[in-house]
Amino acid sequence: MTIREVVKILDGKVLVGEERLDSQVNTACGSDLMSDVLAFVKEKAVLITGLINPHVVRTSEMLDITCIVFSRGKIPGEEILEMAEETGITVISTPLTTYTACGELYLHGLPGTKPKKPVTEGA
């Protein structure tokens, strides 16, 4: 799926990265918990989140997440948008809730990321 299709499906507004809308995304993840995102997400993913702080962009950069969708119409501040611009991450705001945004993308064929095997034994 292209980011352009994501924008259309989510009735989204592109805040950063208008020029990258034809990039492909392979999976998606909906989470406000960056710890989980760091543990499970693969590259070329869309992150749908209601959490707004610079670490959302930082986490995405580390994972090569190509697109962040802020749910419930949230618009992040300039600092966050500039960070995303600098890292080449497309930022979208959708009026939908996180749950509905995830549901819509899933319905349109964008799969979720599969959790990796947990590491529970001691060091």
Partner: protein, 142 residues
């Protein structure tokens, strides 16, 4: 093995605003060196997790990056407080993180296990009252 690159980054305790800056620099540096994208992602995730741990849990420390032709090595060395029970700290879901860390979306007790999962080799040594040293290596080339 000949070291190609060595860089150290001081990480301040409780500096939530700048947390991740060292990891960003490390990622960009390794990318310029032409490190494979998948290896780079593993290094970046583990590096960010360990840097966040220094900010959230330690009294301050240093993050060191070493690159040689065969591997990338990350060493996190802090000045305390040390981990009383490492096995417990390695368990997914166990966390002693502050509310501030949790507000930012961290502190879910995934950090150490996630470092271990991403690194080729993972070693943690800790002494209460002295500090913790985490050494991770990432093999280059598959």
């Amino acid at each position: 093995m000949a070291v190609i690159l060595e860089r150290s980054f001081p990480v301040e305790a409780g500096a939530f605003t700048t947390a991740g800056e060292a990891s960003t620099t490390i990622k960009r540096t390794l990318k310029q060196l032409g490190v494979d994208a998948e290896v780079l992602r593993h290094v970046s995730v583990a590096c960010y997790e360990v840097e966040l741990n220094l900010v959230i849990h330690s009294l301050g420390g240093t993050l060191t990056l070493l690159v040689d032709p065969e591997k990338v090595t990350l060493i996190s060395k802090d000045v305390g407080p040390g981990i009383p029970d490492i096995a417990k700290a390695m368990t997914e879901g166990f966390s002693t993180a502050s509310d501030e860390a949790r507000t930012l979306g961290f502190g879910a007790g995934m950090g150490l296990p996630n470092m271990k999962r991403n690194a080729t080799e993972f070693d943690i040594q800790s002494t209460v009252g002295v500090g913790t040293t985490i050494t991770m290596t990432f093999a280059l080339g598959k």
